[in-house]
């Protein structure tokens, strides 16, 4: 797991010894989605947007069991990466994540956002207890589910549970790779979301282009 901080803006955040937040804590934006769905691409777009607004953010990327390609990339792009508890396979993801978020809350007092990209193999459900143990309420976790429509069949058949859990926790869904699928696949993707959570906001976009204005406003 690695943490990555940048930005210049100083905000206010204070924690007491019991880690109860005395003032606003930085929102956690969680980018969920299966392997290769587009989480890193989405995260990079979000960084661009937030840094343009002069926000100070920390990025947590978890690529457990893999060599950290995404965080290496971030580092090469000039973001300051602090390897904290990376590669700790003997410690559970839950404990590691909790310690990482707490470390951020305690030691980086001027953070505006925490952006978190978990491994594409993680069920987001398993990540919530750790974040909530740091004082966040479920509704405070801005979970953006990146729904890669090229994986529709996979989600329908083998990963039904993962899909259900992901949609149930998401604050919004980004259906991306519009340039790689046809209209009926996009419609199927939208229906799949609506069947589980009618009314959940979905954004359709090609992440290789700029973030849609609507999503821009949402974030």
């Amino acid at each position: 797991m690695s943490i990555n901080c940048w930005g210049t803006k100083r905000g206010i955040l204070m924690c007491n010894k019991n880690r109860e937040l005395l003032s606003d804590r930085p929102p956690v934006i969680l980018f969920s989605g299966f392997l290769g769905s587009g989480k890193t691409t989405m995260l990079l777009k979000t960084i661009e947007m937030l840094s343009a607004a002069d926000k100070k953010c920390a990025i947590i990327i978890n690529e457990i069991g893999e060599v950290g390609i995404d965080n290496r990339q971030m580092r090469m792009m000039g973001y300051d990466v602090l390897d904290l508890f990376g590669g700790c396979v003997c410690c559970t993801m839950k404990v590691t994540l909790e310690a990482t978020v707490n470390h951020l809350l305690e030691d980086y007092e001027d953070l505006d956002y925490i952006l978190f990209e978990p491994s594409g193999m993680a069920n987001p459900l398993s990540l919530y207890p750790a974040i909530m143990n740091c004082g966040y309420r479920e509704e405070e976790i801005q979970n953006v589910f990146v729904f890669d429509p090229t994986r529709i069949a996979l989600y329908q058949k083998r990963m039904n549970q993962l899909f259900n859990d992901s949609i149930n926790l998401a604050k919004c869904v980004v259906i991306n790779k519009l340039d790689q699928v046809n209209q009926s696949e996009i419609e199927t993707a939208v229906k799949m979301v609506e069947t589980i959570r009618p009314g959940l906001k979905t954004y359709k976009m090609n992440l290789n282009e700029a973030l849609s204005q609507e999503l821009h406003q949402y974030l």
């Binding site: 392997l35 290769g36 060599v67 390897d83 396979v89 410690c91 193999m121």
Partner: protein, 154 residues
């Protein structure tokens, strides 16, 4: 569950040449190797590509990132930096594929590199020992104990 089906395999390979070659040429050769690798993986319908990603490091800042998602064999690449000529380039590959052993993945990659060398005699490819990222290794920064388990592995 599906998580266990995807075995992460990491490769560290070095492409080199006796003369400096443009980044675009390296990009195309690396892409060819990845194509050859993915083709072999896709021969068995039981295998599924979770994500095969690779990072070619040009210098401290410049890189090419490659990505293959699903079995369509399309390999996406993004170049970040300035164009320049290079004698060699280091590539880390992170391959997450289901129903394949680490050994098979190695055989496929070696074969792909050999095919590439035969096609383009200008290029040498060396597969290095993989990163020591897995198993019991901890990386907590300069000799620090793991703040979670304090060195006591479970």
């Amino acid at each position: 569950m599906y998580q266990e089906e995807f075995l992460p395999v990491v490769f560290n390979i070095r492409f080199s040449s006796n003369q400096a070659l443009p980044v675009e040429k390296w990009r195309s050769r690396i892409q060819d190797v990845l194509h050859l690798y993915v083709n072999q993986i896709c021969k068995d319908d039981n295998r599924m590509i979770g994500h095969i990603k690779a990072l070619a490091q040009i210098d401290e800042k410049d890189f090419i990132k490659f990505s293959c998602v699903g079995n369509s064999n399309a390999i996406n690449s993004n170049f970040h930096g300035n164009h320049q000529d290079l004698f060699d380039i280091n590539v880390i590959i992170n391959s997450l594929v289901s129903n394949i052993s680490e050994k098979e993945s190695h055989v496929f990659l070696e074969r792909s590199c050999q095919t590439m060398i035969k096609r383009d005699s200008e290029i040498k490819i060396q597969i290095n020992a993989k990163h020591d990222r897995q198993s019991n290794h901890h990386h907590h920064g300069d000799g620090n104990d793991c703040p979670i388990c304090h060195g006591h592995h479970h």
